[in-house]
Symmetry: C2
Subunit: 256 residues, 2 copies
């Protein structure tokens, strides 16, 4: 099936396989070179950016929809995802944008389920930057990691969705461990701290941070030291998955 046919079919008959009025948008966070990043798509023709999103199959839990979208855009499986908010402004409609898009493809369509109002559920995921193979969908000509601090203009309310995800991430940071998916298998204490500082957007005391994070027992110190660094080489750590998951569920009385 060629591109045009696929598009046309999606707009004409998509409501036969997807639920109307409902979509999922994913905020996929990564961490690279000490910068927090988000995976964004650039729409064909219009060039504006958007969150990776999709629709809900008629017999699919929305958690599955989110996982499916994540898998399609990153190749990643088995990542913890969390719904964080529902966005339901009545004005959330892509009608003009969609029609413009179709015209660019060479399709004229008066009515489509895609033109109607959509309520979207925001899902967030934290993934390891280097394991992601960014893959654009058919409506986009690019998919890229964008720095959280230099975000491009985004479609509709996607910037608001992203901000909400970020805010939720900051709030959760104090009560749930972070980093298992964001960092490589083994990492140093300064790297972990930088991750926390980036998300919280403030400096933390190096020594107090270490003391507290170790008190949570989610870390395992490895008998291995980073090499090739100027100055004192830091130790490697990895997550103790058992305690990590325990802390994920029960919280960890942890205040930075």
């Amino acid at each position: 099936m060629d591109f045009d046919t696929e598009i046309s079919k999606h707009y004409a008959d998509g409501h036969e396989i997807y639920l109307r009025h409902l979509s999922v948008d994913c905020v996929i966070f990564g961490f690279h070179r000490n910068i927090l990043k988000v995976l964004l798509l650039q729409a064909k023709y219009a060039g504006i950016w958007s969150l990776p999103g999709g629709f809900i199959l008629k017999d699919e839990h929305m958690d599955e929809s989110a996982r499916r979208i994540l898998k399609n855009r990153t190749g990643l499986d088995n990542i913890f995802m969390q719904q964080f908010h529902v966005f339901s402004q009545p004005s959330r409609s892509n009608k003009e944008i969609n029609q413009q898009f179709l015209r660019n493809v060479g399709i004229e369509m008066k009515e489509s389920w895609m033109f109607e109002r959509f309520v979207t559920v925001g899902y967030s995921a934290l993934v390891e930057f280097r394991e992601v193979k960014p893959t654009a969908d058919v409506y986009s000509n690019a998919i890229e990691w964008q720095d959280i601090n230099t975000l491009p203009e985004m479609i509709l309310d996607h910037r608001e969705i992203l901000d909400k995800a970020l805010q939720q991430l900051q709030t959760n940071l104090n009560y749930h461990p972070i980093g298992y998916n964001l960092l490589p298998e083994k990492f140093t204490m300064p790297e972990l701290q930088k991750l926390y500082e980036t998300i919280l957007n403030r400096k933390l005391d190096r020594r107090n941070f270490q003391r507290k994070i170790i008190a949570t027992k989610v870390l395992k110190k490895l008998n291995e030291i980073k090499k090739g660094v100027a100055h004192k080489a830091p130790n490697y750590y990895k997550f103790d998955l058992k305690n990590y998951k325990k802390a994920l569920k029960g919280g960890m009385g942890f205040e930075l």
Copy 2:
């Protein structure tokens, strides 16, 4: 319009004014005689209980839908409501229940938007028990406050929704003030404490509780003492609305 006609119209044409596949369910908490209560509806004919719910008008924000439902069931306006979770199991469908209901009314219908799968968004509210005028909807023959500890059997996943709301309430308790809508205008310290203990489901030290809650400055001590109680009479307090709202937004670094 009589009852049957209204029902029939809702099932046949409701999708013209409401969004398909989407609903709102409200968990409305009250507090009376030191017991946490939830407002539930009892379905006609079947007799099973459910949360007050409804649908989303085509041009309505879901927050508005939730407020509209709250207003219709309680008469209350201007109450803070919060979405807390989306429930989207594909099996969330009322088909058989709805058809049985229609048969009881004397209507036979093969197809209806109401038979299809629904994704529901849970909203929670805390209201003052004595100000509520419980008003059943047309599908129910009763609306009642139920004790949180002796809940009747509930339809579909409504029990799960309620539990999630309760859990969220417990989690939030440490970071946001509670009680402004749950308690009468003026109340005593033991009453407030009992509210907290009920929600958290554990005992708190009387003296430490008082010290901490006063430290948050959300209370105003009144020059008035409760009368007619055996033993020492407690003082009345009311909420300092200004500080209360401030604490609602910013949190209040408050750990019980």
